[in-house]
Amino acid sequence: MIPLLQASQFPGRHSVLEPAGAQAALIKDGLWDPMFVTASVTFALVVAALLWALLRRRVGGETLEDPARQRRLGLTVSLATAVTTIVLFVFLVVDSTVGRATTATPGHSALQIRVTGHQWWWEVQYRDSLAQHWVTTANEIHIPVGRPVVVELRSTDVIHSFWPPNLSAKRDLIPGHENSLWLEADSSGEYRGQCAEYCGHQHAKMAFLVVAEPSDSFAGWLAGQRDTAATPADSLTRRGQEVFLGSACPMCHAVAGTPAGSRVGPDLTHLGSRRTLAAGTLPNTRGNLAGWIVNPQAIKPGAKMPPNALSPDDLQALLAYLETLR
């Protein structure tokens, strides 16, 4: 109950039952709905049979040795077994049909996105024929509505699994092996996704957000992400940038346009424009960001980010600077 309540605070729908793409619709209409109906009917029949057997009064003189009765009972059991087998066989066929349909290749117009799983966050990269147009971001995947997207899945450490339930089935990210999956959003919106393969201490706090938007606003977003970080304009943000570059931050994080270029942690070039922090753990607000920087281990114990001992003035300047990275 508590995880459900927590999940509801975050932007993005997260439900298998509200499909927003062709893949998820196939799974719901082709697999979930028939299975749910069949299982419900079966359950009702079993309970009814059980109640009937419990409540039925045995007629006096009734014996099991009666051959006619034996034949009737045998016929009933055979019929039930046959029906069960047929139903199961139908579901076997439906299951493999839906599976094949969801994995069919989407064609050449698909957008390629490379998603790399890390303990415990998602690195998202939009590649381009020009290397300077590559966009690297984290935990937030923007996709155009109505265009198929091929997600290339990799992992640097352990097995993760990519699962945005409103859009597609899940697919594992396996270290040393490239996997891929495709999805397509029918309507614009924010859809939450989650790592679906236990990957260590903070597996539960390894979420991501798929933001589906019309293709022109997606193109605008992508162009904005290609920019390097804004140069600090006032003295506070300038001080913040000095704090950023002078403390432990650039040992792991990159901000394009500054000497910070490390690829160990998430790219922070456009941190201010993201909706969540720490892979969907917290909404991206100033207070949450401050808490995360100062003591990440209290929020996400085991995460690879160390606590950062900063004086209050330095911290405020750093926050002001990070908020300008939009």
């Binding site: 690879k304 160390p306 900063l310 004086s311």
Partner: protein
Amino acid sequence: MSSPCRSHWATWVRGLALAGLAAACRRETRQFDNWPPTASAAAVVREVDLQPGPPTRHVDLVGPYDGNAYGTGEGKRLYNQMNCSGCHFQGGGGIGPPLMDSQWIYGSQPENIFQTIVEGRPNGMPSFRGKLGTDQVWQLVAYVRSMSGLLPKDVAPGRNDDMQVRSQEQSTTKAQPGRSTLPPSAEHP
């Protein structure tokens, strides 16, 4: 001796044992928040024992986390977070010197190691001034010392969270705690 008397004694013995166990619960103080933070502070460390005038008595310093299993464990985490393993590996050394043997180029005392981390050393050891708080450096110091067996066994962290062929705590050669803070590099040319 009658049996009620024996059971009476047994109750007393059990009670005493429980009291002893309860007393053993308080093992160490764990300080979770070290505020206000200071970016870094260099310990006052002498690099040589020579001094003009008569020799003065030397006092061995004890690192603030030397007997603290929690602090040492935090140091272990920082060791990987700060990428110490990038050069020293898991204690066996590679690009940097090994940390789990008994040889110390710049001294094995807590203040020597503190100085090494904060100020760096020639030939490759970078300075972590400004990257770590003072308490974090002391936690790292405790962990580095635990690797070569300079800390009591019950303090050294014993379990790894990630895959490893052999943990650094299983080093075979344990160092003997030295008497002097004088680093070997200063002893002879």
